[in-house]
């Protein structure tokens, strides 16, 4: 029995480890934003869109996506004096598009986050009905890692309990931890 719990603990831990490291590192970044530079790499291109004007921001986004200039979700569409502006977000990448209906050209400004910024964005991916299959796979891993945390907690507590020489110190630590955290969880919820 003990061996089964030990193997399960090992497998769940190793399955989750790259994702737990990602969540941990990005949590440190979010908690201490000043420690890391999140200055994005910015590139700009201008795309000609033929002779007929595009009158709708979503249609423009579609054209640019089909031409492989960008991908992601439309976050903002705003009319301007000369045409309109779009913002399209993809985890770690922000596209700002300025379309001129006079010149029929779209200026695309692409900001790509550095490694820690990318981890930050990945940290926020969730759900199983996203716009893209890749996001759904990330969402699937969120579920798997969450379940692994439950498994690690339950198998870990069993394995600790079987280590007789660690029961006293472990009981004290667990009591302190549960007393502190559960009291706060209840107090905050009841506030």
């Amino acid at each position: 029995m003990y061996q089964w719990f030990r193997n399960t603990h090992l497998v769940a831990g190793l399955l989750a480890v790259p994702f737990v490291l990602m969540y941990g590192l990005s949590a440190v970044q979010m908690s201490h934003a000043g420690w890391f530079s999140l200055k994005p790499t910015v590139t700009e291109i201008t795309v000609s869109l033929g002779s007929s004007p595009v009158n709708d921001g979503r249609a423009l986004a579609r054209i640019l996506m089909d031409q492989n200039h960008l991908r992601g979700e439309i976050r903002q569409v705003k009319a301007t004096d000369s045409g309109f502006q779009l913002q399209i977000d993809h985890p770690g990448t922000v596209y700002r598009v300025e379309y001129s209906s006079q010149t029929h050209q779209a200026a695309i400004r692409t900001s790509v986050a550095p490694f820690m910024g990318m981890l930050n964005r990945i940290h926020h991916i969730a759900g199983l009905r996203n716009a893209s299959f890749i996001m759904d796979v990330w969402g699937g891993w969120v579920v798997a890692v969450s379940l692994c945390l439950f498994v690690l907690g339950l198998t870990g507590i069993y394995m600790w309990f079987r280590l007789y020489q660690e029961r006293v110190i472990g009981s004290i630590l667990l009591a302190v931890s549960l007393g502190y955290s559960l009291t706060l969880i209840l107090l905050i919820r009841a506030a």
């Binding site: 193997n7 090992l10 497998v11 831990g13 190793l14 399955l15 480890v17 790259p18 994702f19 737990v20 490291l21 969540y23 941990g24 949590a27 440190v28 979010m30 908690s31 201490h32 934003a33 985890p91 770690g92 790509v112 990318m118 990945i122 969730a126 759900g127 199983l128 009905r129 890749i134 990330w138 969402g139 891993w141 969120v142 579920v143 890692v145 969450s146 379940l147 945390l149 439950f150 690690l152 907690g153 870990g156 600790w160 280590l163 660690e166 110190i169 472990g170 630590l173 667990l174 931890s177 549960l178 502190y180 955290s181 559960l182 706060l184 969880i185 107090l187 905050i188 919820r189 506030a191």
Partner: protein, 189 residues
């Protein structure tokens, strides 16, 4: 092991947060609130004050649990030019609208479901400089747990490598998860 025992309950908070984020993103928007309430309260705005100062007066009047003085970004004017002040807590948001001509406050408050509550708990860190002592203590615990989680992940791999590195299933699982992560990262990038 000691870190695991110290962070045992928060492991479940993180797990619940992950599942909650999955369910909320999967379904229609709006299931975060367990209940909502709109009420009116008398309020005479102090004269010759800025919007921020009036917002602070609203905060002192309402004394919403877990909140601190509203930051600048939580103070704005709505389409009718009424001052609107947002208060955010782990239990749910409250918006107070100052109806100056009627000397009234319109207070719209929402209470999060228990799942959204856990989701908020997992993202509460000292970075937000929590005003309330309960939130502050939780934020310190969360900060500790973040570092503990990183330490446990690394020490767990070390314990495996130093005790039974030839465990075939463990090798396969670690390879699978690392390759999945790298492929997903590259494709997403």
């Amino acid at each position: 092991m000691y870190l695991g025992l110290l962070c045992w309950s928060i492991l479940f908070v993180y797990g619940i947060a992950g599942l909650t984020a999955t369910v909320f993103r999967a379904g229609p928007p709006g299931p975060h609130f367990q209940s909502s309430e709109v009420r009116m309260e008398s309020f005479v705005p102090p004269v010759n004050q800025t919007d921020k100062e009036v917002a602070d007066a609203v905060w002192r009047t309402l004394q919403i649990p877990l909140t601190g003085p509203p930051p600048e970004y939580a103070v704005r004017r709505d389409r009718q030019n009424n001052l609107e002040v947002s208060f955010w807590t782990t239990n749910g948001p409250t918006t107070a609208t100052v109806l100056e001509q009627q000397n009234q406050l319109r207070i719209e408050s929402h209470r999060n479901t228990i799942w959204a509550y856990f989701n908020n708990l997992h993202s509460t860190t000292p970075r937000d400089r929590p005003y309330d002592w309960r939130i502050r203590l939780w934020a310190y615990y969360n900060e500790f747990a973040i570092w503990a989680l990183l330490s446990m992940a690394l020490s767990g791999v070390y314990l495996w490598v130093s005790s039974r590195p030839r465990h075939l299933l463990a090798q396969i699982v670690l390879g699978l998860s690392f390759i999945s992560f790298l492929v997903l990262y590259v494709v997403t990038r």
